[in-house]
Point group: C2
Chain length 204, copies 2
């Protein structure tokens, strides 16, 4: 027997999905909010499945960022962002800005992060298990009130303090070493994205 609550929930999910995908398309046409190319096929695949749609995403990025001690997000100062491999000279020219920053400055690699709406807790768990099987470290249902939202986060991270009190704390040699590490993590993160794509294609 098909129950009424189930039908209403399904209608609401499909309506939300339509609105969310329309918004994404509109934003994607503007320069500012464009979805990074690397992750687009994965998002399109997820959005083609009837039980899921993506609400936000980042494919992974190399960043240089100044963080105040209390780490409130609104105080964060961004010095550099790249979703692709970087060269040492790209970073070096942005390090000039450090001379005006008192807070601790970090070079980071942040892995893929996805927020995905699901039709049910069971479907959400299925997706979490799939992500876990390709080596995503963190995955969980972060909201289950009005909508069921899954957060998936990659495993490849780097989090290196490089400056403090307007002073660079590392040598150029060491900078070269950590940029190589960051580029390696970017590559491994990409491999995991490809693997996740294949898993979803064959299993969901």
């Amino acid at each position: 027997m098909i129950n009424n609550k189930h039908i209403i929930n399904n209608l609401a999910f499909n309506n939300d999905k339509k609105q969310c995908l329309y918004k994404m398309k509109t934003i994607d046409k503007s320069k500012k909010g464009s979805i990074d190319a690397l992750i687009k096929p994965l998002l399109e695949l997820i959005n083609s499945k009837k039980d899921f749609y993506t609400t936000s995403s980042c494919s992974g990025r190399i960043i240089v960022v100044a963080l105040p001690q209390n780490k409130r997000k609104y105080n964060t100062k961004w010095l550099f962002v790249s979703h692709e491999e970087v060269a040492v000279k790209d970073i070096i020219k942005h390090l000039e800005a450090i001379k005006s920053v008192k807070d601790t400055v970090y070079l980071r690699f942040e892995p893929i992060i996805l927020h995905i709406a699901a039709t049910s807790v069971e479907k959400a768990v299925e997706l979490i298990n799939l992500a876990s099987s390709v080596g995503f470290k963190r995955g969980g249902i972060i909201s289950a009130n009005k909508k069921i939202i899954v957060e998936l986060v990659g495993v490849d991270t780097l989090d290196v303090p490089i400056a403090k009190d307007k002073k660079l704390m590392i040598s150029e040699d060491y900078l070269r070493f950590i940029i190589e590490e960051a580029n390696n993590k970017l590559m491994r993160n990409k491999e995991r994205i490809d693997l996740f794509y294949e898993k979803i294609k064959s299993k969901i």
Copy 2:
């Protein structure tokens, strides 16, 4: 109306809780598996609440670890672990081991991680929201098949490559700097644990 499924679920939850807490107590008596003192009051508070019990935990730690490129956990080589503040000399004496390690070696701060069983998805989400309000970055339901398990992870991290190919890549000055950073993160992580304790006490 109290429904039968609800009663059976509740009985199963209470039974699992009893078994899990008994196991924890037994392990805690041995030296090897002892729960870190810092987190004990928080675990006891959570376990005193009827809708929750803890299944595993780490209060946060400063580690030195060698990671092979593919990052499979079983290949990881641990060189140093501390759940408390560390002195530079403590780390230095463990760095001798680097001379025999070809893989990249990291100095890391890993924040608090908790796994908690909950009686329902609603109760799990309540706990996740509370954790989020004290600044825990990641929180989600990671399993909802037989048991509902919540994972909560702190926000304070550090992930610094310090050696590769049997060679230390950083100066003693920089080591001093990152150990200071690691100790600061440990302290902020502890502040968040205290805050979370107070929130649970007053809100759940």
